[in-house]
Symmetry: C2
Amino acid sequence: MNVETAAKQLEALGNPTRLRVYRALVRAGEEGLPVGHLQDKIGIAASTLSHHLHRLIATALVTQERQATTLICRANYPVMHGLLGFLADECCVDAVSIKRDNAA
Amino acid sequence: MNVETAAKQLEALGNPTRLRVYRALVRAGEEGLPVGHLQDKIGIAASTLSHHLHRLIATALVTQERQATTLICRANYPVMHGLLGFLADECCVDAVSIKRDNAA
DNA sequence: GGAATATTTCGAGATGTGTCGAAATAAGAC
DNA sequence: GTCTTATTTCGACACATCTCGAAATATTCC
């Protein structure tokens, strides 16, 4: 995890709409959520949602899988975990203890 | 910590230059770093650095204290801790264990 | 193949960001 | 008070972002 990658992921989460999308997906868990369902939950134009989803997908924070006509979106936990690890390691080493015991 | 606040802080960190600034401050620890020293480290125009510092200060991620002619910048650990807690609570509850034991 | 549903792509406008250099301000030293 | 150093503010430019509606595409069902 380098600074550029971390910055891109932070930027992706650093928009209220995208953070809401991401949070909804996290809460949906393994099952994920269809795009249309996300749209209902958040209340924005489908095109806008598609735009934001692309940004989340581009940073690997979200994945998509097609099921017939609907696209299921899921939060990519390992990626978020990596980001949290970066922040904890770089920024709050003594305040938060993540990935310190098994750090390389 | 609401979504809007978290998004603002994430956006503040979601820029490579600002993330470098923040990281330098974190590594500097309690002592902090003067603005000029940051400029040398990162290599950008003083006006650009000032702009970025303002954004970090606006989100409370960084604080400043004047010492004679120089301004000392410091990372605001509690704020970052709060952000990590938000992300962990909202997004990776099972993957990272921060602020779960002593959560209110 | 044609209709129906789900989602994306296109085009466009308003607004925000990132960067710089030059000029202005702040604080202290002489 | 003037000079020096440190930092910010101003003005400006190029570029990216956010948002929407309309049109296009993808997938299935009949």
